[in-house]
């Protein structure tokens, strides 16, 4: 069930009009000269993401990976109903803190993005932005069936069906929805991946940047942001 | 006697002023002031008056040698002449002004000339 089929892609030929505030405009500077503003170009860094090499010494990289594995900072961003299962993780019952897991409110300080359940196209845009703003190495965990194949929304016009078409998913946690225990188990597995140096989603994303972008743009019709959100 | 003249003079002044301050017609005001001026003149001469003495002219009636004892004070008389002439001058001037005012607006009411105020 690919998202990119005829029935899903409606009306791609029509140019989607830019929002008012994103259209080029001109302002007058205090000294009288007129300055042309192109909001999409001028305000954002256009640099594409880089593939970051691993450390030269394997032992150093292993040490770093160990640290990364034991310091999973999740971006506090609930995309779907699965978010409700995330909260109990921090309660005394599950206490994910003991594994070095904690929530961060800003993508700059998070390195784990949990897509918690179905992801509407509208939210996808935000998820992409949030993901791209996280510093690498960064990890994506797809939570629940919806991120794997659309789940019960398999035929929805407005949700994506396969998360790894759009973001480099390191790990899916199946279930509808998965219990906190399953989440913990998933995080443990993620840790293992990280320790092994296999969780290089960020580099993968950078390497296949064009492919991901093409996929993303094919579903997000009002693509009104730079290609990479620094 | 002298007091009567002086009192009359003062009365004339007050009367003239009363007229000048209560009548809004410019001509009547002028008349009032003329009256008051006259009063002043009367007061002036009455001050120089000394009972039983003669006018200060040194003719046969008053020989030079006795002048000091026989004549009244000549100074107020000299002054009053000047005062009269000056009063006349001012009155003439006021009349001319009255004419000018009347020509300008066709009114002789002093209350009509109050554009300048505050």
């Amino acid at each position: 069930m690919k998202d990119i089929d005829k029935s899903f892609r409606k009306d791609t030929e029509t140019e989607f009009p830019l929002r008012e505030e994103l259209r080029p405009r001109s302002v007058t500077a205090p000294d009288g000269q007129v300055i042309e503003i192109d909001p999409l170009q001028d305000y954002f860094c256009q640099e594409p993401p880089k593939v970051h090499k691993q450390s030269y010494f394997k032992i150093v990289e292993d040490f770093y990976n160990w640290a990364r594995a034991h310091s999973l900072w999740i971006l506090g961003f609930g995309t779907g109903c699965g978010a409700i299962e995330m909260r109990p993780l921090m309660t005394p019952r599950f206490d994910a803190y003991r594994y070095g897991i904690q929530w961060r409110p800003t993508p700059r300080q998070a390195n784990l993005l949990v897509i918690s359940g179905y992801l509407s196209v509208k939210t996808l845009k935000r998820a992409i932005r949030a993901y791209e703003q996280m510093p690498s190495p960064k990890y994506v965990v797809g939570l629940g069936s919806c991120t794997i194949n659309g789940g019960m929304y398999w035929d929805s016009y407005n949700t994506i069906k396969r998360l790894d078409d759009y973001l480099p998913v390191d790990l899916y946690i199946a279930g509808c929805m998965p219990r906190p225990e399953a989440l913990l188990a998933g995080f443990m597995d993620l840790k293992k991946l990280i320790r092994k140096g296999k969780a290089e989603g960020a580099n993968k994303y950078a390497e296949n940047f064009d492919w991901y972008k093409a996929n993303q743009k094919s579903v997000i019709k009002d693509w009104d942001m730079p290609d990479y959100n620094w | 006697m002298h007091l009567v003249a002086m009192a009359a003079g003062f009365a004339l002044i007050l009367l003239g002023l009363y007229g000048a301050l209560t009548h809004r017609n410019i001509l009547r005001m002028i008349v009032g002031f003329t009256l008051a001026n006259t009063g002043v003149h009367v007061v002036l001469v009455s001050v120089g008056y000394m009972p039983g003495r003669a006018a200060p002219i040194l003719d046969g009636a008053v020989p030079v040698g006795e002048a000091a004892a026989r004549i009244i004070d000549p100074v107020p008389q000299a002054l009053v002449l000047t005062a009269i002439v000056i009063g006349l001058g001012i009155t003439a001037l006021m009349l001319a002004y009255a004419y000018r005012l009347f020509r300008a607006r066709g009114s002789l009411d002093i209350a009509d000339y109050t554009e300048l105020k505050w």
């Binding site: - | 002023l17 209560t22 017609n25 000549p74 001058g89 003439a92 004419y99």
Partner: protein
């Protein structure tokens, strides 16, 4: 302008009553002198010797307080000039006024012709005899001007030459000032009458420059009054 007794009237009355209080104080405190004060006494004793004038008042006016008199003459000069200025701006075109009046009648015209020389003569007499008898330049001048008034009454349309009047006025004024200045040069000070000999006490040509000054004053006053009368006469409304 109502004749009603209003608050304004009452206020003015009150005000004048208070002013009257001051006057009353003056009046009540007034004690007439029994002897001449020192100024008057000086005049009584020295006028004859110093000025040669019989009429002490005239001596005071023309000599001792000559500066006042010069000022007085100037007041008239100014008034005449200003009345001309004030009225000059609303002057009627030449010949355009007075014509509305009816002729003043035979009686007045004839009377004028008869009286005028006498009036002029009398005026001159009063003016030049000021140092001897009551009278003087001012009185004489006024009499002269009354002659002029009579003329105007008799013939309202009549016009006199302003230039002549003005010349008379100015020349006599200048002469007066010149006499005053001569006093500085020749005698004891400004307007000292002793620039001319004092002459015989009681004679017409005595008392130094006093008769001369009074004659000038007479001319000047006459001219000034005439000038004022004429200015008034020449306005549009007359």
């Amino acid at each position: 302008m109502s004749n009603r007794f209003s608050i304004r009237h009452a206020a003015v009355l009150g005000l004048l009553a208070l002013l009257g209080l001051a006057f009353w104080t003056l009046l009540a405190g007034y004690v007439p002198d029994t002897e001449l004060n020192r100024t008057a006494a000086y005049y009584a004793e020295n006028t004859a010797r110093e000025t040669g004038a019989q009429n002490i008042v005239t001596a005071i006016i023309v000599t001792y307080r000559g500066l006042d008199t010069l000022g007085e003459v100037t007041v008239l000069f100014l008034t005449a000039a200003i009345v001309a200025l004030v009225l000059g701006q609303s002057k009627a075109p030449r010949g355009g006024t007075g014509s509305g009046f009816l002729p003043s009648g035979e009686l007045l015209a004839t009377g004028t012709r008869m009286l005028l020389p006498i009036i002029l003569l009398f005026g001159a007499y009063v003016a030049v005899n000021g140092h001897l008898t009551p009278g003087g330049g001012f009185q004489g001048g006024a009499i002269l001007a009354s002659g002029m008034l009579l003329l105007l009454l008799a013939d309202p349309a009549r016009r006199f030459s302003h230039r002549i009047i003005a010349r008379v006025e100015s020349v006599s004024g200048l002469a007066y000032v010149a006499i005053g200045v001569l006093g500085v040069a020749l005698a004891g000070g400004f307007l000292d009458n002793r620039i001319l000999p004092l002459g015989q006490f009681g004679a017409l040509l005595s008392a130094g420059a006093i008769p001369l000054i009074y004659a000038l004053v007479g001319l000047k006053v006459g001219a000034e009054f005439s000038s004022m009368l004429e200015s008034l006469e020449e306005t549009e409304d007359s």
